[in-house]
């Protein structure tokens, strides 16, 4: 904890941003297995514990749509025009593979970090 506090804050913020960037894509794709409009998606992500700025989310949705991982359509809901996003077929395949990758990375990081933490505790 002390190491974290002593760490130069901008450097930590950059590391955190890098770490979050890939996770956000995964979370957005996972959530869009069911259809959401942008605002509802941001709320759902927030409620799920992943805070995301709207100015990050909307351009990200657009990029994922350009990559054909998402499909979107304008529709009226509550008397207002809203753009609804959902996962495309390609997005489904990509999500499955990304989730596999995520699980592998997660377990590898767990494996790699556990001995260090144990050693740290032993030292303490």
């Amino acid at each position: 904890m002390r190491d974290l506090q002593a760490m130069n804050l901008p450097a930590f913020d950059n590391l955190r941003l890098e770490l979050r960037r890939g996770c956000l894509v995964l979370a957005v794709l996972a959530k869009l297995r069911s259809e959401h409009h942008g605002y509802a998606l941001a709320k759902a992500l927030r409620e799920g514990g992943l805070e995301i700025d709207e100015n990050t989310l909307y351009p990200l949705l657009r990029r994922l749509e350009d990559q054909k991982l998402l499909a979107s359509a304008w529709r009226v809901e509550d008397k207002r025009n809203k753009r609804f996003y959902r996962l495309s077929e390609e997005g489904r395949v990509a999500l499955a593979r990304l989730l596999d990758e995520w699980r592998n990375i997660n377990s590898a990081v767990e494996r790699l970090s556990t001995p260090t933490m144990t050693a740290g505790r032993r030292k303490a």
Binding site: A6, G38, Y39, N55, Y58, R80
Partner: protein
């Protein structure tokens, strides 16, 4: 009296500003504008539901302020191009090439400057020409190298040359590949002692030197003669710090400070000597037919001193900047009480 804008007008103005700053084709601008509006309207509705009333214009204004300046919002939609001009893979090589080419160019230009000192051109006009050339090179060299690397990047993106390599095609390591030489402190120390003794003798027996002895065709100028002790001290410190590099103090910060001090003193001394005019004057055995060689020698000495001052001064500046950066980053680290 000026009318305050309504909620709808505030939203309209904001969306209009975002669209203007997107700088995208009209259909994309409209699409993005509609989406940003939809999001903002949802936020307004949500807040209104929580408060149980319509939002006031100042509350909508605060919401828009939180959402961000229109330029910032527009910028996010313009980020992440499909392919950069120079990718992160090539960037270290690009940066290295840029610095190497500039350093080579500068070295050649400085050598040309040294020889130009021998000509009739006044020093001020030569230095002005150097400044102009450095400014031009600072634009032309990066532009040329960036174009070159952008072309390489494009070809790599299109044809994937880097994926076609074969390990067998790499050239074999030559048998006489230079290894890092081991430091030879003994040779350096003996050479340094001989040199210091030689210089020390000059303090008490100037006739040791053909220029300082008063027996030559040329003699040292008054300023150079007056500076002989500082010159000896400078040589002493230069040699000492190069010996210390062989000891356990090699990485200590005071040695770095000493090196900076020695270089700074050397540059200051060189500038002072350059300012005093000719460093060599006619000696007791002066022969008027030697006037031209004397002038050439003085010009060459001045050129060499200038070149050495620049070559030593630039790394010195860089070292000082690094020290300041290290110092500020160290002092900027938050202190944590244990």
């Amino acid at each position: 009296m000026k009318r305050e804008p309504t909620n709808e007008e505030l939203l309209d103005r904001y969306i209009h500003a975002v669209k203007l700053m997107l700088m995208l084709p009209p259909h994309k601008m409209e699409d993005i504008g509609a989406e940003v509006r939809s999001n903002l309207e949802s936020q307004v509705e949500d807040q209104a539901r929580v408060l149980g009333r319509e939002l006031r214009p100042d509350e909508v204004s605060a919401l828009l302020k939180r959402h961000g300046h229109p330029a910032k919002v527009a910028l996010r939609y313009r980020e992440a191009p499909a392919r950069g001009l120079i990718s992160p893979v090539l960037f270290p090589l690009y940066w290295f090439t840029l610095r190497a080419v500039f350093a080579i160019w500068l070295t050649i230009r400085l050598i040309v400057l040294v020889f130009a000192f021998q000509g009739a051109s006044p020093a001020v006009s030569l230095l002005l020409a150097l400044g102009r050339d450095v400014l031009l090179a600072a634009v032309i060299i990066p532009a040329g190298i960036t174009l070159l690397f952008a072309g390489w990047e494009y070809l790599e993106f299109r044809f994937r040359y880097s994926e076609r390599w074969k390990p067998e095609a790499l050239s074999p390591v030559p048998s006489s590949f230079p290894q890092h030489p081991k430091p030879r402190p003994v040779r350096g120390i003996i050479g340094g002692i001989v040199w210091l003794v030689f210089l020390a003798l000059a303090l008490y027996a100037p006739s040791f030197f053909w220029v300082w002895g008063g027996r030559g065709v040329f003699s040292a100028s008054d300023a150079l003669y007056a500076m002989r002790f500082p010159l000896w001290l400078l040589a002493f410190f230069v040699i000492s710090q190069s010996w210390l590099c062989y000891t356990r103090f090699a990485t200590s910060s005071w040695l770095r400070a000493l090196r900076i001090g020695v270089v700074a003193a050397g540059v200051a001394l060189a500038i002072f000597l350059l300012g005093t005019g000719d460093l060599l004057i006619a000696g007791p055995k002066w022969d008027p037919s030697q006037a031209k060689p004397l002038a050439t020698l003085n010009q060459m000495l001045a050129g060499v001193l200038t070149l050495v001052s620049i070559l030593a001064g630039l790394p010195l500046l860089w070292e000082v900047v690094r020290m300041i950066r290290r110092w500020t980053s160290h002092s900027g680290t938050p202190h944590v009480a244990s």
